[in-house]
């Protein structure tokens, strides 16, 4: 890893001004699991590392009648073990628990989980200057693309690595972003950007901006949620395919729903097609299967990842059935 200056800011304001004045030369460190991995492989080579953990108040988690307020430094273990989150925001607890290993979840934060960089092996290879690193080619298109995107791809075909993001979007979460000029609250769904917008980053974060809170509204009565994840290796891995499902049931019928996929697109992929199938219906295996088919109707696999299409159809089906308790 390249040598760097380590900065402990005493306040949010000084963290933001340090980040903003250093621009591309500075990186923000929370748990550090993703950033240190990138720095060890020379994917990121910051001159300055700004430690967010000395900023007071960012590790708070509150759960009340309004919902959840989660500081960016809350660890994945804390979220996975929180009794209120397990009971009322089940998809989020399941997603947090599915990330990495105990050692990673004890250090890794929710803010870092949302802002982590892609796992595509071309991106992570020090020797490869791919499209996401300022090069001109996405090597996944013609290469070893078994883990790449089948939806929303182009000009880069990464998949977004976060499990918590789809669960949070299914639960209608927002993020509070604080920057040098302003503080803004954005639906998490609008936080992630497709490669067509800016191939070099995955979020709307601008220079000096920090995710300072994640806000999850209290679920309406009759709401249930579930996150299902399929991995290449069972003990720990990123998702080959996953689905976060939220169903609000009234008289056994779906009054409101969200279906958000992981592991298949460059952003957490909300599927309005699957939601349209479910809305107003009683959940049966047939309806759940139709939702899965609708979710993948526009899939365009690359040479080696066509398996993700039937896999995801079934992940959606099973996740919907489990959520509904059918």
């Amino acid at each position: 890893m390249k040598s760097f200056e380590f900065v402990n800011p005493a306040s949010l304001r000084s963290a933001i001004s340090t980040l903003a004045s250093a621009g591309e030369k500075a990186k923000l460190l929370a748990g550090g699991i993703d950033l240190l991995g990138e720095m060890k492989d020379y994917i990121q080579q910051p001159d300055i590392v700004v430690n967010l953990k000395t900023v007071p108040g960012l590790n708070r988690l509150t759960a009340d009648r309004r919902g959840l307020r989660i500081g960016p430094l809350v660890t994945l273990t804390e979220i996975a073990e929180h009794p209120v989150i397990r009971a009322n925001y089940t998809a989020l607890a399941e997603a947090a628990e599915s990330v990495g290993t105990p050692q990673i979840r004890n250090v890794g934060t929710i803010g870092g989980n949302l802002c982590q960089r892609p796992r595509c092996w071309y991106y992570r290879d020090e020797a490869v200057v791919c499209l996401k690193k300022g090069g001109s080619v996405c090597y996944a298109v013609e290469g070893e693309n078994q883990f790449n995107a089948v939806l929303g791809g182009g000009p880069s075909w990464i998949v977004h690595p976060s499990d918590c993001a789809p669960a949070l979007i299914a639960l209608n979460a927002s993020v509070e972003i604080t920057g040098p000029q302003r503080r803004r609250v954005v639906p998490l769904e609008k936080f992630f950007t497709l490669p067509t917008q800016n191939v070099l980053q995955e979020t709307i974060l601008e220079s000096g901006e920090i995710v300072t809170q994640i806000i999850v509204p209290a679920p309406a009565a009759g709401t249930r949620s579930h996150y299902m994840k399929v991995r290449h290796k069972e003990s720990f891995d990123w998702a080959l395919s996953g689905a976060a499902v939220m169903l609000q049931l009234r008289n056994r019928r779906v009054a409101a729903c969200r279906v958000v996929l992981s592991g298949v697109a460059p952003i957490p992929w909300r599927s309005p097609e699957a939601e349209a199938v479910l809305r107003g219906k009683a959940v049966t295996p047939q309806v759940a299967m139709q939702a899965g088919q609708a979710a993948m109707a526009k899939a365009r696999p690359l040479g080696k990842n066509a398996y993700k299409v039937p896999l995801t159809r079934n992940v959606v089906k099973l996740a919907v059935l489990k959520t509904a308790g059918v």
């Binding site: 760097f4 200056e5 380590f6 402990n8 240190l36 060890k40 105990p102 050692q103």
Partner: protein, 218 residues
């Protein structure tokens, strides 16, 4: 060791000063004395100080003296901000129980307890580990006075080559501190961040369950 290696890597990238390059080579006879004074810009690094004002920042660069609470003892080491907790333990403090294998947070051989929770010491900077309670495998027991988990690993032959063993012992210890009566599934989950290339998992799981039983006094 790794820092020196990295210095060399840097020099081949061409973005390093001549001074660091020579330091990387380590054998510059005529310039050694000069180097020593030139590079020793030591900073004291303490856990975040009380802010003098909201705009205060603490900047750590060059060589940094870190204070770590390891196995109940205060220890200090002169490292760089980029030095991981693992490298600090192994290369500066002579605590070689935690092993360096993947150095990427995948294999679990470097697992230590930080505030009683298992973490990968290869994925934590030493400057970031200050003010925390660190326990390495050396802090759990000694060959003469083994911890119940260590004893169970011996009794159940829970190792083959033994390189992954310290990590598994630490992960199992953390589980038993939290859960006195774990199921086999709980043990598997607690060990999911540790890899044994010899494949001695069944014996490791047996040892963890036996240690739990022993600790309950059953």
């Amino acid at each position: 060791m790794s820092e020196e290696k990295n210095d060399r890597l840097e020099s081949s990238n061409g973005d390093v000063s001549r001074r660091q390059f020579l330091k990387g080579l380590g054998g510059g006879i005529a310039v050694t004395g000069v180097l020593a004074t030139a590079t020793e810009t030591e900073t004291e690094a303490h856990p975040a100080p009380e802010p003098a004002s909201a705009s205060a920042v603490q900047r750590l660069r060059g060589k940094v003296r870190v204070r770590l609470n390891i196995n109940g003892q205060e220890m200090t080491a002169l490292v760089e901000p980029r030095t991981t907790l693992l490298n600090t333990l192994r290369d500066h403090l002579d605590l070689t129980g935690a092993k360096k294998v993947c150095d990427r947070g995948s294999c679990g051989c470097c697992t230590v307890l930080v505030n009683d929770k298992p973490v990968y010491s290869c994925m934590m900077l030493a400057v970031d580990a200050q003010g925390k309670k660190i326990t390495t495998v050396e802090g759990l027991g000694t060959p003469e006075k083994m911890s119940p988990v260590q004893e169970a690993f011996v009794e159940h032959d829970a190792l083959m080559c033994g390189f992954c063993t310290p990590g598994f012992v630490v992960s199992c210890t953390a589980l038993l501190q939290k859960n006195r009566n774990p199921s086999l599934e709980d043990v598997k989950k607690a060990c999911s961040g540790n890899v044994c290339r010899c494949g001695t998992y069944p014996h490791i799981f047996e040892a963890a369950l036996a240690a739990a039983k022993k600790m309950r006094g059953a």
